[in-house]
Point group: C2
Chain length 374, copies 2
Amino acid sequence: MIDFSKIKVPTLLLNETIARSNLRKMAAKAAKQSIRFRPHFKTHQSAAIADWFRGFGVEAITVSSVRMAQYFARNGWKDILIAFPVNLRELADIDNLAGDIRLGLLVESVESAKHLEKFLNHQVDVWIKIDTGLHRAGIWHEDTHLIFELASYIHIANHLNFKGLLTHAGQTYDAKSPEEIVQLYKQSNIDMNQLRTKLTTFGIDKILISVGDTPGCWLSDDLGQVDEIRPGNLLFFDAMMLELGVCQPGEIAVAVACPVVAKHPREKEVIIYGGAVHLSKERIAGGQGPIFGYVAFQRKNGWRFSSKNNYVRSLSQEHGVVRLTKKDFSAAEPGDLIMVLPVHSCLAVNTLGEYLTLDGKWIETFRTHEPINR
Amino acid sequence: MIDFSKIKVPTLLLNETIARSNLRKMAAKAAKQSIRFRPHFKTHQSAAIADWFRGFGVEAITVSSVRMAQYFARNGWKDILIAFPVNLRELADIDNLAGDIRLGLLVESVESAKHLEKFLNHQVDVWIKIDTGLHRAGIWHEDTHLIFELASYIHIANHLNFKGLLTHAGQTYDAKSPEEIVQLYKQSNIDMNQLRTKLTTFGIDKILISVGDTPGCWLSDDLGQVDEIRPGNLLFFDAMMLELGVCQPGEIAVAVACPVVAKHPREKEVIIYGGAVHLSKERIAGGQGPIFGYVAFQRKNGWRFSSKNNYVRSLSQEHGVVRLTKKDFSAAEPGDLIMVLPVHSCLAVNTLGEYLTLDGKWIETFRTHEPINR
């Protein structure tokens, strides 16, 4: 049982029951539709939490860096996709890793594929990164000629196993409603399938499709004609997902417990120990300015979301300024804890580096002990 | 000598010559005006860098957390101010620390001061936190009655040594010009001195004034009628300070070396390995959307600022999207390094956790090896 009186500094709380329930729902939906669930582990970054996934039949995972892949490989994972454009400065590490496990990589240019082929001694799985509307990374899905050229090269290369087409339809994060999210997810899948059909007519066969965003995968009853989904955030959700209408308050599995250090009656604001170095500066656009987290209050064994009228209005390096309703302001006192539902749970995990569960157990991540860089 | 070819992942580069030059200028200005320079060490967070300050006569420092105070105390610093409203959940750690060193604390309510007095076994220095316009923390400078009540209580308390009035005039970060920064700094000091005069007439004597923001302290030739300044950021500066007109590009002492991983000709954008977990999501409001860093290019032994037309337009967890001019886009290739001048150097130091100097030395911070929390 957690002992809240022992919390001295901003601490990442984890409600394991909620997280496991979220995980169960997603895994069940994928299984029912015979789609591989290759969850993104950048959300939790923890070998201990990774073990929960095995119970749901998960054997293949997604990570966002070579170092994270090394960490999970050391912890027994044998099929890891690094969902990040291949970094030519890490080819030696990539090659070593590919000698130990089944390693998947993303490419989006023939040049990068040629570098891989030239440098690697081990086989790697290769996906072509496709942009279906996020405009962050990948080849635009209508650039069929370039995609065909790249797929053809991968096919003839000795060290590259062509897997298929991969996208992250993160444009769902800009949607105005849950309905629009479902529509964007569906459209992205249509675009991916049209591309697959075209490439097939050009003679490329056995093309898998991998897609990945939590909003689309969580809200869509029909996951579509895809072979693999890679959502990660659904494990914990966060204030961003609440704002988008993807999750309910009771589905958010993490909160940052922050000590109240001062009260300002004039503004109905309290100052918390909990700043950018704990919550990250990820924000939601609010009506009266940015929002850096929503407020929940301590309950016997956890927290309870209060209302969107209670929110973090600004963050400095270590301070947060929390605006509260009159009633909630009256009840808050220095020394209390305020539970902040972070805007982006993955980033809060990354900055805080470890969890305290509601059972009172500490759970480590790959950032808890190791040097941060190198 | 730094070997850029060995940089594989986002790496915080430090130009020690620039940093020492910035430090020298600030220390000299304070010394000339007989004002104590109590630098804020939350910027560099490093015992090795802290040693540079001793050469400029610095003996008293500022930090932003109890844990940071413990770290610098272990590294030989004997006079440390924790410039953060006192956290009642850390009183045992505070008391232990106060047994070892001269420890300064901030209070902004009689209740917190009473908690300190009741709990502590050791003496602490106490400053009253005053708000002169930032509206983050502190008592509004015109609330003379409350400030007097608090000062009077501190005076009679056995474990609290009343030091004076402290402010952080961070409203300078919202200024529209360097002239306005100087004006805001001056006005804050006028307000602080008026408050001191009033309290003196009420019978409170020996009131020191401590002020702290880098923009005001750096740009003002006359530091004003203050006893102590606490700027920290000037050691490194950053894109925010460049944007405010506080520093010149050649005065920025840190840059994050980020590998280029992809090119997108249509948008004249490159994708870098360098995201929110490296640079933080601190932003500057740009004309065409937020800016998450300015771009510098690699030079023989360091970097050179390019132009404000080259900037980071978005950051995901590990990716950055960099918009470049046509000419600079043509020259950039996957495998190259792009040097990002971070928006807020203190946060980039915190996320990256260690420095690589242009001499090729690694410098650690208090986050390099220790568990992140607890």
